[in-house]
Every structure is written in structure tokens, then in C-alpha cells.
Amino acid sequence: METVIRTEKLTKRFGAFVACNELSFSVDKGEIFGFLGANGAGKTTAMRMLCGLLTPSAGKATIAGFDVYTQTEKIKQRIGYMSQKFSLYDDLSVAENIRFYGGIYGMSRPAIREKTERLLEELQLQKEAKTLVRELPLGWKQKLAFSVSIVHDPGIVFLDEPTGGVDPVTRRQFWDLIYAAADKGVTIFVTTHYMDEAEYCNRVSIMVDGVIAALDSPTALKQQFGGASMEEVFYELARKAKRKGD
């Protein structure tokens, strides 16, 4: 199995505060990796370092073989990113958003055209190609945002709480899209607050107080911590956290 993300004692300090403390883990190609943790545990900081957006204070990490200190530009070309807070421009249409992101990632115009057609068909948004994104219902926005984040066929995609506030049916449709991408070999790095979504992952890591308190498949974690569900496992670990997100 090819390793696409590898970290070794990855650390980030903000002054005296250690947001991430010597994180060491690896993620294989095509894996759906759940990155969990309570607010303030250090999840967002870790993700930013992996995306090449934040320079680590210490430790090593490579994404698709590229070093996060020296080769951030190469990393950014090979990853996709989607967050709950922002992904698409509200005042641009569906097609314009796709064209923009395709262009940003250096796709040729015919490639963008072809991808746009395919995307619209998959999501059944053909009639909405010219609709401004802000007029779309939330569920469609999220699904579109995910598809746009992989428009350039990246090997790895980072999803930051992609299903927040979305209705249960759309949530599952979203995960259908994730599964489809994983089947094609895309590695998915996802954080979520929904514990049932943690079960959909191949492996899950749980961050508490800046360190990785547990990392294994959901089944193994449930056995290890004696919980019937991921929610119980998570609660067990998060309960003891000293850093309640300040």
C-alpha cells in the first residue's frame, strides 16, 4: 500500500501554547481517514499543516511525497480542500465556480468543459448550471463543493466538517460521493462531529489536548475502549480532556 501522508513528531507551537504535540501517523492511498477531536484539540491546526497552509514548529511531514516545509506549492497542486465554512463563491454561478477552480488548478479549457458536463450530470444539476450558488439549497451546495474540490483529480482531499447542518438524507448522499471517490483511489482525510460518520472511515484518529489519543479502525477502537459505538469511544476519551477548547 502506498503511503500518501506521513508525519513524524509533527508539532506546532503558538508562543508557549502547544497546539499539536509530536503527531506521528501515516495514511495510505485510497483510505478514508477520519480525523476526530473535540474543539480546541488541535485538529484544525494539524490539517492546516498538512495542507501546506501553516509551517510546523518541529517534526516532519510529507504529503504525496512532498515535504510540508519546502514543497508546499507542489502539495497544493495535488490536494483538494473543502470546509464547511467556505467552498464556493455565493455570487458566482455553478458553472462559473467550476470553471474558476478548474482554472486555478491549471486544467485546460477542454478538460474543464468536459469535467463540468460530467459533474453536472452526476449531481443532476444540469438545469442549475447558470444559477448563483447562493440560491442553491444547502445540501446541493455541499455536494457541489465536494465535487469541485476534486475537479482536478487530486490524489488526496481534505474535508473539514463537510456535512455540518445538512439533512440526514443529503448527508448519506454526500458519503456516497466520498465512497465513489475513494473507490477511484482518492485518499480522503475528513473531520466530522457526527460520530456515525466516523464508522464509515477505514481508520480513525482522535486528538485530545494536542496529541493523538487513539488511532485505529473503528472496530478495533470499540474493542479497545469497550464502547458499543464510536460515540461512546469518543466520549470516553474527550471527557478527560483538560483543554476544553480555549
Binding site: Y89, D91, L92, E96, R99, F100, G103, I104, G106
Partner: protein, 368 residues
């Protein structure tokens, strides 16, 4: 390279889809060009002047006719004595006075020289310099005419005296203007931003759903700004006195009263602006664009109001700073009393009351 073009294209799309910004980007330059180009001019025409002619001879009559015929001057009065001049200057009825002494014509014929006294209101030194220059030019031309006609050199010499500001310092003009501008900007902007900030943060929601009356919300937003503005006022006055040698010649109490009226008016404008703004940014833009431009252009300290097209003159009546500017000049620079500024104070009181009532009525007690 292509990525750059794509990004630029996106930015254009953002701009063109935002109606409000578009209005400002294109509307503002156009408005400014029109205003500056057509309406506002530094040329000063129709200045009101007074003539005191002790000599009453043929020469003075000719010169007076010449002066009166010029587009730059409008002979407001022909006074019998110089004592009346002071009053006229104080009221601001005249900007310049020409006094021909007794035996003016005789002096000219017999000695080839005669002196005429020119007194200018230099509380606006630029204006004073400009109109005295106009006058000097007229006199110069008149001199050559006379000389040609008589075959010998005839010289009328204007002896100019600048009133209120003999050294022609800029401070007496721009300090009142800046005072009006600064107080206006600070009051409107700070008030509107303070109210909209609550809306933006969401705390306004909680305040509304509470026994706290909206009236008190308004008062509590106005009060600190009023206090800060009055402190600002004293700082400006102190600095003017110490550094710019521009003390308050008249009653400090009167000046402060007028200033407080002006501040309250501006606070009410800020209140009004805050009602429709949803974001602090919109509030700031509204205060800046909405108030700064009219204040700068129509107060009268950069461009004389008398020279604007009638439409703009009427518009300037609606700008509170225009009235406050007069109050400052009369009280601070000329040392005048209530009788000189009661009209302006009344107007400001009226504006303040009206704006405050409207804002109160329109204040949204619901979220839509």
C-alpha cells in the same frame, strides 16, 4: 499565467454583481467631476462690497461705475460714513470696502497720485486676496486709461487693510472648516458604527427581546459619543490657541453651546444612517460617502457658496456644517455675540430635533 487571468476574471464578476459597490465606483467619480467642473469654482464673482465716497467727484464716480460694472463685484451699499462699515463687516454683509477720502480727484489732478483705502474681510484669507487682486487689476486698468487720457502719469494707489486676519494666516479659515468636518465625521461615523456593530454581532437581537427600551439603546449609543466629541472640541480649541495663535475671541459658552447643537445634529444623522445599514462596513461607507463629500464641498470653507449654482446653494442649506461654520467664524474669529448667530443656532436646533424624531420613529424594533 492562465491562473492569473482566471482569478482576475472572477474578481470582475464579483465587482459587477455587487450593485452598491458599482454605484460607488462609477457614480462617485462622475458626481465629483460634474460638481468640481461645473458647479464649484474658485473664481469669486459677485462679492458684496461697500463704497464710502467722501469726495464725490468725477473720478470717483467713474471708478465706482467701473467697479460696479465688473462681474466680480456687487456694490451692496453706498455708505455715507465709515462707522457703518464695521457693523456691515461684522454681519458679513460685505467682504470688501472701498473708501475714497476727501479731495480724491483733486489730489489726482494736481499731484498725479491719490490713495484709496481698501478694507477686506480676511477671515477667509484666500477669498480676501483674490478679490483685492481683482480690485487692484481694475484700478491698474483704470490708471492706464486715465494716464492716456490726460497725457501724464496718473496713479491711484489702493492702500489695503486686512480685517480680522491682518497677516493673512490660513488658520482662521481652515480651522473652523476642519472643526466642522472632524466633528461631523466622528459623530456620524462612530454613532452609526456603534449601532450597526450590535446588529452585526447579534447582540441587538438579545437587547430587543428584553425590557430595555429601544429609546435607551439609542441614548446609550449617543451619550459616549457626545462626551468624546465635546472633549475633542476643547482639545481642538486649545490647540488652535496654543499652536496656531487662534484664540476664541467671543464667548466660549456660546461657542460650546453651538458646537453641542451641531454635535447632536451629527449624532442624529449617524443614527439615521445606522437604520438601514446591515454591516459596519456599510455604515462606515455611508457616513464617509454620504456626509464627507457634501460637508467638504458645501460648507463654504473650500469653495464660496455664493458662487455656486442656485441648485447647489439651496442644497448647501441642508448641510448642518454650513451653519456651524458660520457660528464658529462669527463667535471664534470675530468675537460676536448671540445676536449674530441666533438664526444659525435656531436652524441647527430645528435640524437636530427633526432628525432625531425621524430616527426614533424609524428605529427598527424588529429584525426586518
Amino acid at each position: 499565467m492562465r491562473q492569473l487571468l482566471i482569478f482576475i476574471r472572477k474578481e470582475f464578476l464579483h465587482v459587477f454583481r455587487d450593485r452598491k459597490t458599482l454605484l460607488m465606483l462609477f457614480g462617485l467619480p462622475i458626481a465629483q467631476i460634474v460638481l468640481f467642473g461645473f458647479a464649484l469654482s474658485n473664481e469669486i464673482k459677485n462679492s458684496h462690497i461697500a463704497i464710502v465716497d467722501y469726495s464725490k467727484d468725477a473720478v470717483t464716480q467713474r471708478l465706482i461705475t467701473r467697479i460696479g460694472g465688473s462681474p466680480y463685484f456687487n456694490i451692496q451699499r453706498t455708505l455715507a460714513s465709515g462707522d457703518q462699515l464695521n457693523a456691515a463687516f461684522k454681519k458679513g454683509d460685505i467682504k470688501l470696502a472701498v473708501i475714497f477720502p476727501v479731495g480724491f480727484g483733486d489730489d489726482l489732478v494736481h499731484t498725479g497720485k491719490a490713495t484709496m483705502q481698501v478694507i477686506a474681510d480676511a477671515s477667509d484669507p484666500n477669498q480676501a486676496t483674490t478679490i483685492t487682486n481683482y480690485l487692484n487689476q481694475i484700478v491698474l486698468d483704470f490708471n492706464s486709461e486715465l494716464s492716456q487720457g490726460a497725457g501724464q502719469r496718473m496713479q491711484i494707489l489702493p492702500s489695503t487693510q486686512m480685517m480680522y486676519n491682518p497677516e493673512l494666516r490660513g488658520a482662521p479659515n481652515f480651522v473652523p472648516g476642519v472643526m466642522a468636518l472632524v466633528l461631523m465625521l466622528v459623530c456620524t461615523m462612530m454613532t452609526s458604527v456603534a449601532i450597526v456593530r450590535e446588529k452585526e454581532l447579534g447582540t441587538m437581537e438579545i437587547l430587543l427581546v428584553s425590557p430595555f427600551k429601544p429609546f435607551y439603546i439609542i441614548l446609550s449609543k449617543l451619550a459616549p459619543n457626545l462626551l468624546i466629541s465635546v472633549v475633542n472640541l476643547f482639545i481642538i480649541l486649545a490647540l488652535s490657541d496654543i499652536f496656531l495663535d487662534l484664540p476664541v475671541k467671543g464667548s466660549l459658552l456660546l461657542l460650546v453651546t453651538g458646537s453641542v447643537l451641531f454635535i447632536l445634529t451629527c449624532l442624529s444623522i449617524g443614527l439615521l444612517l445606522s437604520i438601514n445599514a446591515q454591516t459596519q462596513q456599510a455604515a462606515m461607507m455611508g457616513s464617509m460617502m454620504g456626509m464627507m463629500l457634501p460637508t467638504m464641498l458645501l460648507t463654504g470653507f473650500l469653495f464660496p457658496i455664493e458662487n455656486m449654482p442656485v441648485a447647489l446653494q439651496v442644497l448647501s442649506n441642508l448641510v448642518p456644517s454650513r451653519w456651524y461654520f458660520i457660528i464658529i467664524k462669527q463667535v471664534m474669529l470675530k468675537g460676536l455675540g448671540f445676536s449674530a448667530v441666533w438664526k444659525e443656532m435656531l436652524i441647527l436646533t430645528g435640524m437636530c430635533a427633526l432628525l432625531f424624531t425621524i430616527s426614533l420613529k424609524k428605529f427598527k424594533i424588529r429584525l426586518q
